[in-house]
Subunit: 338 residues, 4 copies
């Protein structure tokens, strides 16, 4: 058994992580923390865990001793806070999987420009935790900067004009966290649809970083998130102009070559329509694509569960890789339907 | 009092039309029809109308006598059926407002190519019923082809590359009608988000027609609709690349010049976020726009209620214009919130 | 024109009240207040009111001058606060319609026992604002204590065992207000159903008061509210054991005698099923009832919109009565469907 | 490995059953049937099963050969059809778990009176499949008539007046099945709440049968179901008058004695509020209860997931008992939250 701890266990991503780890046959949850609920049982906060998890929330003030008693630490804190924890754990053998943004960027200048906070841990031995693309580096990185949920929904574009990419995405409200905001109030959100953070969403630069790592050239994209009156799920609708002479068959072949062997990517094929409902609760990313002959654009549709493949499931997938386990342990669940 | 009749009164658009006409002080509803419910009271089908509307549904088999007894006829039938009615009413003085697609195209070849049915009434004296743009022609047209709901959400683009336009839209399920389909089942639709008809949605050519009429040049766009787990509302997110030297201020000025005097268009301004919730139940179209300096694109957000500004409200606005009434009669309602 | 002001205009009931008053042809909104948003335009807080209401929120610190400049004042404050306002306005000719609980009880001891605060205005000239029952007293009362939303959904029981009454009710979340609570978060409320305040809900004693006023004997009931994942609506399912020899026809006759002439009560009849959807946005109370021969119980179903008949609509109905207007002015709207 | 087959696999209960059986380490799914989709792959109908289940739907015309190739058969057909299957399988060693009503009643006259069809298999060796109460009989019954979802939500009442029981229940729409009905349309159901089948719901007699088996006396109850705009979950609010001298402590003790050792019943305790959200996706039944001193009634709240504890989970629990497995295999999942 590998001992794991969760720092910041009481947000939605933290709770999802506990759900997955509870059913992980080779992980033992050692410590869980929450600053606002220190001393409470997790099952008081999350009644669905009654009878399933008996742990009491600790404070991360003791993070060094938690680190000394853990093989892996998952951090589910707002950006800016994981760096502090990472620094304190730097000398210990414990490895870190950060669900936030602090360790996602190879160029910390980009982080500082978009997140408006100084980076305190620039020399961390880290890797971007998008398993399908950076699997080999994940195996022995000290810190794994789990990919942002929107990035995960993206795909490699090799056959398209670099600067023609538009990502139009829609997310369920659990992506906005459990915090109390008027926009999350049921009466405000139901029967409503809106965009937010147009041209300024912080997942933009990590999508660009991954695209550059894949394609070798600088890429600037438009990324527009929308809020859907639902709990879970992200659907990304990605537009790109195909280079001349690129055919639908070449697009098909690229997808199958790149993702055909991936367990958690289900290629639904050309002209297919992924729906967020059909990946809900699972670590799957469902992909479909369409060619518009009139405009010579490819439109790629990608569906994930933001709390699983977009957060906790991705984190456990990275954990499985890093710990040397079979990659899908505890993640081979049937999507929750209807 | 002007006598009006509604052909096909039992779909969602028909029901919304009745709701508006019931409160219209200068319209008297003379006849309503339904082929599947002939002989029933409308309040049996729509219990919310109990005590408010006592009419009984007739058959459109009698459409000539209905036409002879009406000043205006609203048609809310599936495409392909309004043409038959239009032909039969051609010799009568009654005027027609069609909520469907049959009379939307000046070029009936385009209609036939996208709708896959022959057009039977090519010489109809008709106009495209988008009031803000075709107001003058609406005043005395025999037939008004009410604008499709998605088109309505569009705006004139003068300062952008003609072939850079992408319209990414999301609609509530009432836009799919009252028919029984698995995709409309609550358990299937809730907590779900998906695209449909990528590159093939039939509102594409009428958007292109309106853009051509406005800008004078052929325009080919990408239009991608999505289905949102909500009842009413359309939000269109429109992307276009600005021509060089076009500034944000020039964009602002264009919107104010074009729509500043329109009662039913509320310009929220640059960097604003329209939400479908805030136009629900009303004839408003709320507009906001954003300039992305990095990609030199403008992103325009436009929110309407698909059943009102996108269907029944637009129809009554056209009716008011055509009948010579003040344009906002029966339409000056407060949006329904929360 | 009658000048009206709204104290506490920024909650859901306050916003609904503004929506109704905006369309009231004989009311002019003079002042609106909010302590947390003093100085802001109401349309900033409620974007659906853009272009429809240009008022700026004031503080109720100036309530005497607001009172001097108003014919009627609506108070939409949490319980305990209307009394302070009522005392300050006691000497002015302005009349008060309180949407809260402070003036609902003829016996202020009952108020104090259930609300746990001392009553400061015991000698107020007040009446319980349930128009269908207390219409005559409403005409000239100084203060009208608007009926609680659940009470409104109740009906007179004459033919039943006094102590057999159970009221099982379910309400949309707008009844819980616009405040930020975890239970109102979309992700928590959707796909969830729960009871709350079993045996302790504060609307219990006013239901008992109304039943006693109607029937002449002390009645103790069970009242259990539930929270439904929807925005608006209350359905009350009321159980009572019929006295021996009481037949279904006698029940029918009682309902028709009592409510047959009421504009806002729609008697759907025996074996009918009211649905909250069909009264949404309107001042209607839809009633249906069932006789269970096996248990000799009557089951009464009653549907209202909690924000309209249960709050703002009821208040305007009382206002119309008190001001001598036709009772349904500004309230004769078509329910909002679907 | 035990070979199991599912007759009628394409309804919501059938699909849930597949989800559970897929993760059951000792069950191998041999055959699945559907009359309307014979020959199709299950993953075409249920895209969430892509990559997880490769079976093709067969016809139940071959039920004898399916029966010969199975150790257990689950039947998820509408009432009236399981009897036909049961008769055909009578001579084979295969055992049957019926999710419908055909085998729930020891007195088939009661079945015929409520379901209005003749019973064709009156001498079947059957047991009512409510595991917590009839566990011992389940072990070797040929046919297990799985308990109706509402019954499951009930509890033993020993301390109350036999004829004072009222069960007021609310269910998500998946309980109404996947069939297309107007009432299941998203636009009709959202923001709506209604009762149905007042005094006539067919789960009434099986609740009465279970209560009689437990308490030894004839009991007649009122049972009122409601439809909630959500997908899954049932909350039952049960009222009963306590006998004189019965105290809250006696109620508490009875619950703990009866259910304290049950793995799938979580006793939240007196004054607790179960919510359907916290059992969603799991086989748990959460119980809380309240004593109203004013009316001397006990109010019991009981939450289940209608598709799991109310259907497929209960069926697998019965299967585990009947097959001699540990009772919670494949059922020890974390509820799906949020």
């Amino acid at each position: 058994m590998v001992k794991v701890s969760v720092i910041g266990a009481t947000g939605y991503a933290g709770a999802e992580l506990l759900s997955i780890l509870i059913r992980h046959p080779q992980a033992q949850i050692a410590h869980i923390t929450s600053e606002s609920h220190t001393g409470k049982k997790i099952s008081e906060l999350y009644p669905h865990l009654r009878g399933l998890c008996y742990l009491t929330l600790e404070s991360l003030a003791d993070i060094e001793s938690i680190g000394a008693d853990s093989d892996f630490i998952f951090i589910a804190l707002p950006h800016g806070h994981a760096m502090d924890a990472g620094l304190k754990l730097d000398k210990l053998p414990v490895r870190i999987i950060d669900l936030g943004a602090d360790y996602r960027f190879s160029d910390t200048d980009v982080y500082e420009a978009w997140y408006k906070v100084p980076h305190k841990h620039k020399d961390a031995h880290r890797v971007y935790g998008l398993a399908e693309i950076y699997r080999n580096q994940i195996r022995d990185a000290k810190i794994i900067g789990n990919a942002g949920c929107f990035t995960t929904a993206l795909v490699k574009h090799h056959l398209v004009d670099a600067n023609s990419i538009i990502v139009d995405a829609a997310s369920g409200v659990s992506g906005a966290g459990r915090g109390l905001k008027l926009g999350n109030h049921f009466a405000e959100l139901y029967d409503n649809f809106k965009a937010y953070n147009v041209a300024h969403h912080r997942h933009t630069p990590e999508i660009e970083q991954a695209l550059k790592d894949l394609g070798g050239e600088e890429i600037i994209i438009n990324f527009t998130p929308h809020l859907v009156p639902m709990s879970r799920g992200i659907l990304a609708t990605c537009y790109a102009t195909l280079k001349e002479n690129v055919s639908g068959e070449m697009v098909d072949a690229t997808f199958h070559k790149m993702y055909g062997g991936e367990k958690f990517i289900r290629l639904l094929g050309r002209d297919a329509y992924p729906e967020t409902k059909f990946v809900r609760g699972s670590n799957y990313c469902d992909l479909g694509w369409h060619i518009d002959e009139r405009t010579h654009r490819v439109i790629i549709l990608s569906a994930i569960d933001n709390l699983v493949k977009g957060a906790a499931g991705q984190a456990v997938q990275n954990f499985n890789i890093a710990a040397g386990f079979y990659e899908s342990i505890a993640l081979d669940v049937v999507p929750f339907y209807p």
